[in-house]
Point group: C2
Amino acid sequence: MSKGRPTIADVATRAGVSKGAVSFALNGRPGLAQGTVDRILAAADELGWRPSNRARSLSVSKAFALGLVITRDPAVLSSDPFFPAFIAGVESVLAPRGQALVLQVVTPGEDEAAGYRRLAQDGRVDGVFLSDLRHDDPRIDLLVELGLPAVTLNRPDTASPFPAVCLDDRPGTIAVVEHLLQLGHRKIAHVAGPQAFVHATARLTAFTSALAAAGLEPVAIEASDFTAAGGTEATKRLLALPEPPTAIFYANDRMAIAGIGAAHQAGLTVPDDLSVAGFDDSELAEFVHPGLTTVRADPFAFGATAATTLIQSIDGDGDVADVELPPAQLVVRNSTALLEEQ
Amino acid sequence: MSKGRPTIADVATRAGVSKGAVSFALNGRPGLAQGTVDRILAAADELGWRPSNRARSLSVSKAFALGLVITRDPAVLSSDPFFPAFIAGVESVLAPRGQALVLQVVTPGEDEAAGYRRLAQDGRVDGVFLSDLRHDDPRIDLLVELGLPAVTLNRPDTASPFPAVCLDDRPGTIAVVEHLLQLGHRKIAHVAGPQAFVHATARLTAFTSALAAAGLEPVAIEASDFTAAGGTEATKRLLALPEPPTAIFYANDRMAIAGIGAAHQAGLTVPDDLSVAGFDDSELAEFVHPGLTTVRADPFAFGATAATTLIQSIDGDGDVADVELPPAQLVVRNSTALLEEQ
DNA sequence: GTGTGCGATTAAACCGGTTTAAACACTCAG
DNA sequence: CTGAGTGTTTAAACCGGTTTAATCGCACAC
């Protein structure tokens, strides 16, 4: 009778061999006669047997799963274009390998370390993605202490035992600045993300150095937080300046789109009175009015690459090399225009 | 010496009892003397012992995890405001209970059923969330066949063995229509989502019946796909109509925001020439220009409720009752205005 | 004819918990 | 003094795989 799922023992009796032989055949271990292997595989097939992940997990001490801890306010997370695509990219690598992705969302106020601790102590995952990397990120030491393999998204500033998968934000940022300069803008401001994040500072420093290369200084730098509300506030402050910018480069699209709204609210027209550029090329960038000039990264590829790198670093013995992804590309739309002489 | 993590055997020898006793003490089983329980718990504490999830999973045949399969194109998923907040809500329930969330992203073209099959056959999860519920959703039969508990997000039209957690879209939709009517609009169109989804048809039918209650008919219904690109296209078609609408209700914010862009592109001003309303109250809705009138749901609460319901249905013996969430609320902003007489 | 070597196979231990049935200690009634 | 009854505790089986050490069969050399 069908007494639940078939086990390895069922396959063994059916094929007339021992449990161990079935295990060998399944895992392609040498030492079995080809005929026996075929017979076992056939028996397994007929029974529709698939090895139990739980049993395998216990005996080989692996979870066959990777973990992602997202430290983000739910409301803010909702409109983050990065993670969903990143996760899809991770999945594209994990699914064919029979691995799973375990997610953990932590609200910024809570104990972020607890998230990683739980993942590690429960043995839920074999490794984790370290996203939203910060300067002197305390999570690196934490993971070392927990003995949990990891891959960092972007390169930490201190030496790290983990491989890094990097997407250089500088070329895209520089392209934006050069684009604005070509349009005649000289008074350019930047609305930055929280400087604790390495990608936020990367964009900021690339911005200032690109301006410096043209012998210019930023008219203003507004510290913000990557949210639409933050973008609105920062924009208001910039427009209230005695000498307001003629162009603003935002560290992400959300702030940029909110910035366009704030500019309109202030009676300005984009791009006639103010040029605006963002970063991410999120879905809406193309469809808002005016179409947003921005920088297109590839979070899907980011996720896929990070997953393969992490798996290598878990399975492989030797050290895994860092990976550099192709840089993000400038996408010019209608939110940036020639500076009109006044 | 520290030979890896302590096991239940270590705790047992330390407390001077058997493995079984430790297990009893941990799980609060009756039959142990109080003193013994205290001694065991103390020993466990000193050793910093936490029971291995893997071992527990194997012996009790539970995964202590729930699954979510998202069938969505990565590019589209990126700007979906629902899932991130929903997931955060799920986590808020799972984390304190020591449960985990296993995610699976399936590209629409791929075999969606395979996603659920893998989750079930690998024994990764104890139950799944059935999101983006469709009419005559084939996944219900699939899950029955797989013997995997589930909770449906929204109520299926055919009888289902699974509890449903529902968020009624009709009150919010009706509120939008009444709001537009009060503003004097009579020529109102709807840009709908794919009618395979129950929430898409719910919004559409509520829209038409609310109009019918006022003795009106929709000036047009445009079938679309919840994407910004789709919203743009639908809007263009509506504005090209011989008798174009004076107000458009979109089935989600993304299409609405794209619709505002398309209207501007066509030389119209929102809300002067065209009123626009969306659905979701995504983060950007408040900050685009003009601020988007929309309907605010609470995906975080949705996730939290769905998780508790699913856990109940897994643990509990009896049937679990369906849950009805408080309906979404109309949020009036500046994208809707009094119809100007021409 | 015996020993050696090798490929194929298996029995049994192991991973770290849970659970069942049996054993144990102790009290109290007959 | 015996036996039943009660409250504690434990030994051992079990979950379903992997892995190691031992065994088996057989050809071959000496």
